[in-house]
């Protein structure tokens, strides 16, 4: 896919006097994997929520897959999906039942066949008959990912996709996502605190701090620009810089 899959201009979200996201502009090229980085409270989740239509911006525009998300988000939602360890699937339903329900919700053709396909891809076949609430964190993450891939999304938004996974499972998930992105030509935007993951998976990075994008570029460009060894050091450097508000005072 060529061109920008996401175009954001002047995106702002205020909660009372606090600007959680403050006039953000960015473009995400089609077929790329981009990370949204920043410390806690930087505005990453708020930005993702606005991209998903869960949260209405106070100002600004969002265009996803060529559609204005504020006016026509339902034209786009069938072609995107989302996964986060902080959003659950119903615990009392089996994995198969949950995936079936979401297959129907997304209008997947032959949902049972697609469900089996995704389950095989993510090696969750043996979990299909188990209640979702009985799964381990790692298993839940893989099931949530299966839900996110049911509609074979052109745009995948991931909030900490490997949080609470052991290193082996996390590595497996990263490999799977990279493979999916290549095969489907999909675009992935992820928020993560794992800098190793970001260096490995992402061609672009948007660094957020206090609701603003304070820097952007590829991992190599950022590492070079700040004269550091890796993204972990770049992250710490940016996070520990005095805030704009503190400097003004």
């Amino acid at each position: 896919m060529s061109g920008s899959v996401i175009k954001v201009r002047g995106l702002t979200k205020r909660f009372g006097a606090v600007a959680a996201v403050d006039g953000v502009d960015f473009d995400i090229p089609g077929g790329s994997t981009v990370a949204l980085l920043g410390g806690n409270g930087a505005g990453k989740t708020t930005t993702l929520s606005m991209l998903l239509g869960l949260l209405l911006p106070s100002a600004g525009t969002i265009e996803v897959l060529g559609e204005d998300m504020l006016r026509h988000r339902h034209r786009v939602l069938p072609h995107m999906n989302f996964s986060s360890p902080y959003v659950d699937l119903p615990h009392r339903l089996t994995v198969e039942q949950n995936l079936m329900v979401y297959g129907w919700l997304y209008g997947v053709v032959r949902p049972r066949a697609r469900l089996r396909e995704v389950a095989a891809d993510l090696a969750i076949d043996s979990l299909l008959k188990r209640e979702t609430g009985d799964l381990s964190s790692g298993q839940k993450t893989r099931v949530a990912l299966a839900k996110a891939l049911l509609n074979r999304p052109q745009l995948l938004l991931l909030d900490e996709p490997t949080a609470s996974l052991d290193p082996d499972t996390a590595d497996w998930v990263r490999t799977y996502l990279q493979d999916y992105q290549r095969r489907a030509g999909a675009t992935i935007l992820l928020a993560s605190h794992n800098m190793g993951e970001v260096e490995r998976m992402c061609g672009g990075i948007l660094m957020m701090k206090e609701g603003r994008i304070v820097d952007r570029g590829s991992p190599a460009e950022l590492i070079s620009r700040y004269g550091r060894q890796n993204m972990e050091e770049v992250f710490l450097h940016i996070a520990r810089q005095p805030s704009a508000a503190a400097v003004a005072q």
Binding site: L52, L54, L55, L56, R75, F82, W104, V108
Partner: protein, 277 residues
């Protein structure tokens, strides 16, 4: 991986019966997997019916009014449970989404808020039928009274009381979306505030004159007066039915409006991601 497309052409349609069915399927799976939930649906209406059945047996020999229509109290308690179960059917189905922190996943899918409303109404109908049909059947061998002997008017009463439950359920669900689980208890108690005004077990004329004006603003008052007209006089009052329908349409529009407004407010305030325990 198979080739695109994986989605049906209706995936982005403004309305999809499949998405409504998906929501219903989710709740049917939940009911199917939990016998305690099914038992809970029928338990209270059955206990109420048994209690009022014995009270009726006592009154038949001690009250000339009840003696004229022996099943009037049983019919009243069963029909009142339609309002309560109808309201719970909407609000509990919605609360299930909050309890399971599923709301965000639902609303990043193509599901539209009005499709959710429709799904909740379908679930309310199913849950109400599960709740009131078993005690209605049980009343036949226990008290030799069949509420079904009312015939077609029963269907009109059932539908109207169910609609009243829908209106209340949507309003309560909207309040829960706006105020979070702190408003959850409304789902269990709100309907009882209307019970004294609905003339379930006595005519509306018993109420003080000023309160009668309030009572006639409720669809349930028209239904229960209509029920007594059928049982005592053998007359079906179309005027009462028409008023009940009109009031129900108004209250459902109000409830749905409140739900959709609360949804928009939740998107402004970021409440959809915060929902849950």
């Amino acid at each position: 991986m198979t080739a695109l497309p994986v989605l049906s052409p209706a995936a982005a349609a403004a309305f999809s019966a499949q998405r409504v069915a998906a929501l219903v399927l989710r709740h049917l799976y939940l009911l199917r997997g939990s016998w305690t939930r099914i038992l809970e649906l029928a338990y209270w209406p059955t206990m109420q019916m048994i209690l009022w059945g014995f009270i009726s047996q006592f009154f038949v020999t001690n009250s000339t009014w009840v003696a004229q229509a022996a099943g009037v109290l049983i019919a009243a308690v069963l029909l009142w449970d339609v309002v309560f179960r109808g309201q719970l059917g909407v609000s509990i189905s919605f609360l299930e989404e909050l309890w399971s922190r599923n709301l965000a996943s639902l609303f990043v899918s193509p599901l539209r808020p009005y499709e959710m409303v429709l799904g909740l109404l379908v679930m309310s109908t199913i849950r109400t039928l599960i709740g009131v049909v078993p005690p209605a059947l049980l009343a036949i061998p226990m008290y030799h009274y069949s509420v079904f002997s009312m015939g077609l008017p029963l269907l009109a009463f059932f539908v109207n009381l169910l609609m009243m439950g829908w209106g209340m359920g949507l309003l309560i669900s909207g309040l829960v979306m706006r105020h979070g689980l702190a408003a959850e208890s409304l789902a269990w108690v709100a309907v009882f505030a209307l019970a004294p005004l609905s003339g379930i077990y006595y005519p509306i004329s018993v109420l003080p004159p000023w309160l009668q004006y309030v009572a006639w603003a409720l669809p349930s008052s028209h239904v229960f007066e209509g029920m007594r007209a059928v049982m005592f006089e053998g007359v079906f009052r179309y005027d009462l039915l028409a008023m009940a329908v009109l009031l129900n349409l108004f209250y459902i529009a109000l409830g749905a409006g409140a739900f959709l407004y609360a949804f928009r407010l939740a998107r402004i305030r970021g409440l959809l991601l915060k929902s849950g325990e």
